[in-house]
C-alpha cells in the first residue's frame, strides 16, 4: 500500500487542518473581531519587518547630508510626523519602534510558552510535592504587581545582560509565566482523569508519551488565546517600562513608551506631534492584538463558540440543475 507524497502530507497535516477549521468557520462578530485584529497586527508586523525600507531615516538619525534636522519641527513634507527635541524624525521612530515592540513581545511570548507550558504539564500530570511547590511559587508571583516585578527584573538584569531587548523580554516573561502555568496545569488536572488517558496507560504508554500524545493536544487550545491577549498586555508593560526609563535604552532602539515620556513636557507648549503619534501607535497595536485575542477566543473556545445552523435552501435552481443533468 504505497501512498504518494501528497497523500502522506495530507495525512500528516490532518490534525493541523482540523485545529484551524474553527477559524475558517468563524462567522459574524467573531469573524469581524478576528479579521480586524489580524489586519491591524499585520500592519505593524509589516512595518517591523520592512522598517529599513519603509522608514525615511534611522531611529536615532538627527541629520541628513551634513544638515542637522530642525528641532521640534512641525509635520511637513520632509518629516511627515514632525521632529522631536533631539531632532529625530517621529515617523522613523514609530516604524523602528514597531520592530522593537514586536521583537520584545515575540521573545517574551516564546520564553513564557517554553517555560510555562511544560511546567504546567508536568506539575499537573504528576502532582505531588513538585506541583505543590510550583503552584506556591507561581501564586507568590501573582501577588506582585506585574509592572513592579518587571522593573525589579529589568533592574537586576540591566547590569549583566547587554541587549536591552533581551532584558525587557525576560522582565516581561517573568510576569506572564504564572498565567500559562496556571491555565495549563488546571486543564491537565481535568484531562488527566479522562478515560483516554487511562486507556493510554493500559496500552503501556510511558508517562512522557501520554503527556506528549494524549494530554498536550487537549490542553493547548487555550494557549493561543492567552498568548495573544498577553501580547497586548506585554506591549503595555514594555511601553510602561520605557516610560519609566527601565526599558530598551534609547541608544539601542526606538521605543514608543520612551518617546511618550520625552514628549510630556512638549505637550504644555502646544507641541502635539511628539506625543500623539507614538501614543496612537501604542493604542493601535494593543487594540489590534486584543481584537485578535478576543476573536480567537470566540472561535476556539467551545463554550463561547456559537455554531450557526443555517437552513439549507431547497430552492428551484438545484432541481433545475438535476433536471439538466438528467437530460445530459
Amino acid at each position: 500500500m504505497a501512498a504518494t507524497a501528497a497523500v502522506r502530507l495530507q495525512r500528516r497535516t490532518v490534525g493541523i487542518r482540523r485545529a484551524l477549521a474553527p477559524i475558517a468557520e468563524a462567522r459574524g462578530m467573531a469573524r469581524s473581531l478576528l479579521w480586524a485584529g489580524t489586519g491591524i497586527t499585520l500592519v505593524f508586523v509589516l512595518l517591523a519587518i520592512f522598517a529599513p525600507i519603509l522608514s525615511p531615516y534611522g531611529f536615532d538619525q538627527y541629520q541628513s547630508g551634513g544638515r542637522r534636522f530642525a528641532q521640534l519641527a512641525h509635520p511637513s513634507h520632509a518629516h511627515l510626523f514632525g521632529t522631536t527635541v533631539q531632532s529625530t524624525d517621529v515617523l522613523s521612530r514609530i516604524v523602528w519602534g514597531a520592530q522593537t515592540e514586536l521583537e520584545v513581545v515575540g521573545l517574551a511570548l516564546a520564553f513564557g510558552l517554553v517555560v510555562g507550558v511544560p511546567l504546567g504539564l508536568i506539575a499537573g500530570y504528576f502532582g505531588g510535592p513538585f506541583d505543590r511547590g510550583t503552584v506556591l511559587f507561581m501564586d507568590a508571583m501573582f501577588a506582585f504587581p506585574p509592572l513592579l516585578l518587571a522593573i525589579v527584573i529589568a533592574f537586576l538584569l540591566g547590569g549583566s545582560v547587554n541587549s536591552g531587548v533581551l532584558v525587557a523580554a525576560i522582565a516581561i516573561t517573568i510576569t506572564y509565566i504564572p498565567q500559562y502555568f496556571r491555565v495549563v496545569r488546571n486543564h491537565v488536572i481535568s484531562v488527566r482523569e479522562e478515560p483516554y488517558v487511562e486507556a493510554a496507560r493500559a496500552l503501556g504508554a510511558k508517562p512522557l508519551t501520554i503527556l506528549r500524545r494524549y494530554v498536550f493536544f487537549n490542553v493547548v487550545q487555550n494557549v493561543p488565546v492567552i498568548a495573544t491577549l498577553n501580547a497586548a498586555d506585554a506591549v503595555l508593560t514594555l511601553t510602561a517600562l520605557g516610560f519609566l526609563g527601565y526599558g530598551v535604552q534609547p541608544t539601542q532602539g526606538a521605543e514608543w513608551g520612551y518617546d511618550v515620556s520625552r514628549a510630556v513636557s512638549d505637550a504644555a507648549s502646544g507641541i502635539w506631534w511628539t506625543g500623539l503619534f507614538p501614543g496612537i501607535a501604542i493604542v493601535l497595536l494593543v487594540t489590534g492584538l486584543t481584537l485578535l485575542g478576543e476573536g480567537l477566543n470566540e472561535t476556539i473556545n467551545p463554550v463561547l463558540r456559537r455554531r450557526t445552523i443555517r437552513q439549507v435552501d431547497f430552492a428551484a435552481p438545484s432541481m433545475d440543475a438535476g433536471a439538466e443533468l438528467l437530460e445530459a
Binding site: 500500500m1 502522506r8 490534525g15 483516554y196 496500552l203 503501556g204 500524545r213 494524549y214 493536544f217 487537549n218
Partner: protein, 439 residues
C-alpha cells in the same frame, strides 16, 4: 503456588481499598480517613478461553476488580497471578510488557478515544509504544487489517477520521481494534455495550465473540446487565459490596440462583410485556456505604431470608425504627421518637447497645415500643438476630448475636457465599434458636 495449566489468571484474597479524605480537622491532626472497600477479599480463577461475567450493581466493585487485575489501580492486599506469575507488585517496566498480553475496553467509547488523534493514530499507537511495527506504512497496514477485522470496512474510509466523526458503535469498534492490535490473551471488557444503542449492542457482542474465537481470547466481562451476561458468559460471578457472593456456570446461575441477592437480581430483569406484572420482591433499601459495610454478611440488611447468624447490629435497629416511623401517623411517630431520642449511638456498628430513654420514658417503655414493632411485623428477620433485651435503669440494653463471617462454599454446581448453604452456620443458628426459647 503454581496454577494448573489452563488457568490464565488467578486472584487470591484480593483487596482494593480507596482511602477517603477525612474532614479538615482530621487532616490537621493527622488522622487518616476511612477506607472504601471497593474490592474486599475476592478470590477467583479465569481459565484460558472462557468468558467470565462479573455482575453487580453500581458500586459493587466490579470495575475496580477489573482495574486492579490489570494493575491500573494498586492492590491493597492479596495477589494476582497471570500465567502462573505473580504480577501484583510488578514494576512499571514489567507491567508495560504485560500490557501486550492483557488489554481493557472501557465503558464509554466517546471518552476512551483521544479526541485529538485520528482513528489510524489511535489504533496504531500501541504498536508504536511497544515498537512492534517499523515505519508509518507498516503501522498503517496493520491498522487497516485490524479495522477491517472489527468491521470498520473499508478501513481507508475510517483511518483519517477523528473520533467525533464516528458513531458510538463505530467508536467502540475502534476501541476494540486498539485493544486487540497487540494480540492480547486477556481482554477485560468493562461494560462495553452499556453506553450503546440497543440495536448496536448485539452486533458488538457478536463481534466480541467472533474475535474471541479468532484470537483465542479470554474475557473478563464486567456488566450490570444479567440479560446480556446470560447470552455472553460461560461463567458468572455475582458481586455485592466488593465481595463475590455467588460464582458458577451461567446456566446453573440462571436455572437455580442460590444467593438471595442473585435471586433478586434475576427477578429484576424487566419483562417485555408490560401487561404482565410479576411479583418483583426487590431488595429493600439501598446498597450500604462501602466504607462501613454491615457486620457479617453485607447483604443481610436487605435480605428477606436473613437469620440469626447473618450479623444483625445497631445500624439495623435504626433502619428498622425509621422504616416503622415512615408508616406511622404523625402522633405515633412523635411519641415514639421522643422516647427514643437521638439515635447517633446506633450509627456505629455494635452488637451491644445501651439505648437511653428520653422525655421521661423508662427502659420498659422502649421495650414496649420494640415489642409493638415486632408484633406489627413478626416476619421481620431482624428479630431473629436479637439475643437479649434488658431494662436497665432508664435505658434498654440490646444484645445481638455475634456475626458469623460468610464463606464462599460449594453448593451444587456453583459456589455461594451465604449462610443458608453453610452447614456450620445453620447449626450455629439452630443452637442459638434453641438457647433462646426458655426466655
Amino acid at each position: 503456588m503454581s496454577a494448573p495449566d489452563d488457568v490464565l489468571v488467578s486472584v487470591r484474597g484480593l483487596k482494593t481499598y480507596y482511602s477517603i479524605r477525612g474532614s479538615f480537622l482530621d487532616r490537621l491532626v493527622g488522622r487518616t480517613g476511612a477506607a472504601v472497600r471497593a474490592v474486599d477479599d475476592v478470590s477467583l480463577e479465569l481459565r484460558k478461553g472462557e468468558v467470565l461475567g462479573l455482575v453487580g450493581e453500581s458500586g459493587s466493585g466490579k470495575t475496580t476488580l477489573g482495574r486492579t487485575l490489570l494493575g491500573l489501580v494498586p492492590a491493597t492486599e492479596g495477589t494476582v497471578e497471570f500465567e502462573g506469575q505473580d504480577i501484583t507488585h510488578a514494576s512499571e517496566h514489567d507491567r508495560r510488557l504485560l500490557r501486550r498480553r492483557m488489554q481493557i475496553v472501557f465503558q464509554d467509547p466517546h471518552a476512551s478515544l483521544n479526541p485529538a488523534m485520528t482513528v489510524a493514530q489511535a489504533v496504531g499507537h500501541p504498536l508504536e509504544i511497544h515498537g512492534l511495527a517499523r515505519g508509518r506504512e507498516e503501522v498503517r497496514a496493520r491498522v487497516a487489517d485490524v479495522l477491517e477485522r472489527v468491521g470498520l470496512a473499508p478501513a481507508e474510509q475510517f483511518m483519517d477520521k477523528f473520533p467525533s466523526d464516528l458513531s458510538g458503535g463505530q467508536k467502540q469498534r475502534a476501541v476494540i481494534a486498539r485493544a486487540i492490535i497487540l494480540n492480547p490473551v486477556l481482554l477485560v471488557a468493562d461494560e462495553p455495550v452499556s453506553m450503546l444503542d440497543m440495536s448496536v449492542r448485539a452486533k458488538i457482542l457478536e463481534l466480541m465473540l467472533a474475535l474471541k474465537h479468532d484470537f483465542d481470547l479470554t474475557y473478563l466481562y464486567i456488566t450490570h446487565d444479567l440479560a446480556t451476561a446470560k447470552f455472553f458468559c460461560d461463567r458468572i460471578a455475582i458481586m455485592y459490596l466488593g465481595r463475590i457472593v455467588e460464582i458458577g456456570p451461567s446456566e446453573a446461575i440462571y436455572a437455580d440462583p442460590k444467593h438471595p441477592y442473585t435471586q433478586a437480581l434475576l427477578r429484576a430483569i424487566p419483562e417485555p410485556d408490560p401487561r404482565r406484572t410479576i411479583p418483583r420482591d426487590l431488595p429493600r433499601g439501598e446498597v450500604p456505604d462501602a466504607s462501613r459495610p454491615p457486620l457479617g454478611c453485607s447483604f443481610h440488611p436487605r435480605c428477606p431470608k436473613a437469620f440469626e447468624v447473618c450479623g444483625w447490629e445497631s445500624r439495623d435497629l435504626k433502619e428498622l425504627l425509621e422504616r416503622r416511623w415512615a408508616g406511622l401517623g404523625e402522633e405515633g411517630f412523635e411519641a415514639e421518637q421522643a422516647a427514643v431520642g437521638p439515635m447517633e449511638a446506633l450509627d456505629v456498628a455494635k452488637t451491644h447497645v445501651r439505648l437511653a430513654a428520653h422525655g421521661g420514658a423508662h427502659g420498659s417503655d422502649l421495650r414496649g415500643l420494640l415489642d409493638r414493632a415486632r408484633a406489627a411485623d413478626p416476619a421481620e428477620p431482624f428479630w431473629t438476630g436479637v439475643q437479649e433485651m434488658r431494662d436497665a435503669n432508664g435505658s434498654l440494653e440490646i444484645d445481638w448475636y455475634d456475626p458469623v463471617e460468610p464463606r464462599l462454599l460449594p453448593a451444587d454446581s456453583v459456589e455461594v457465599e451465604c449462610h443458608l448453604y453453610d452447614e456450620t452456620a445453620l447449626a450455629e443458628a439452630a443452637q442459638r434458636r434453641q438457647s433462646r426459647i426458655p426466655q
